[in-house]
Amino acid sequence: MARKVPQINAGSMADIAFLLLIFFLVTTTMDVDTGIMRQLPPPPDPNQDIPDIRERNIMNILVSKSDRLLVNKKIGNIKTLKNDVIDFMSIHHDDLAYPEVTLKSIDYIGDVYTTKGIISLKNDRGTSYNMYIQVQNELAAAFKELRDRLSMEKFGRKYDKLINEDYIDAINKAVPVRVSEAEPEDVGGN
């Protein structure tokens, strides 16, 4: 015999849903992780010789334990660092003060001059992380600017607006991020 089941009152359903909703609203974190990407070099091979790089091809950046900068043995400034790096890594033909340039042919771009310059970054154990990040940030900004320039010249749009993977690859090859981090050592003591 079928008995009539009384209707369940759904009026409180909204309240229950609200309760759950508020729980998720409170616990949700909408933060996106952002950061500076870097590629570490593989550990040095003891049998490998130290590559012989000419003095003029290296830009030495040293961050001291008191967070001061030494750029090519002169006191540097974080505000001018970006422009210094751009200037150093730009193409200067037959100028002994700047690194050597070589002509490279790269797919999709054709023949371009690339610099042999390397940024050598060295920090002390006592350097603050914040300062180190600021320096890394300036270096990243400088390389981004260089890539933007080449990209504008070759493809007519900025580097981060490029869609074609091959074009991005080509620019990466033409302007590699050449930052070498020296093996750590105590420079300034404690």
Binding site: A10, L25, G35, M37, G126, S128, N137
Partner: protein
Amino acid sequence: MSRFKKQGSKEVPAISTSSLPDIIFMLLFFFMVTTVMRETTLIVRTKLPEATEVQKLEKKSIVSYIYIGPPTQSKIYGTESRIQLNDHFAVVDDIQEFVVLEREAREEADRKFLTTSLKVNSDTKMGIVTDVKQELRKASAFKINYSTLRKVVKKE
């Protein structure tokens, strides 16, 4: 001209609330799907530095985190910066094992894209960070990300 004035009753009919639960459920499902529960409890303080040239970390499933900073309970553990892996304090020597375990936990195809995100307090000295980086190199976890906040650039 009272053509449209029909039915003298001026009462506004009660708005039906029967679809309210549906609307709320919709919102609820949205938040349930987007929520990422934090899996580690931080026991070190990481006040991240700010930078302008930041990139987004896209796939969260292939990122492993290393936290470095002064302990939150400074009365017990002191103020010297420490490393936190998962839920515990760790020493530099634990990192290689940590990387191996993290790698094992990922799918085969994702392993070579594994990124290590370093969440380091901005006042921490570079010594400990350098040690961690050296260990990561030994463990061949070469892709790293210095976690930073996006700096708001003032327009001049």
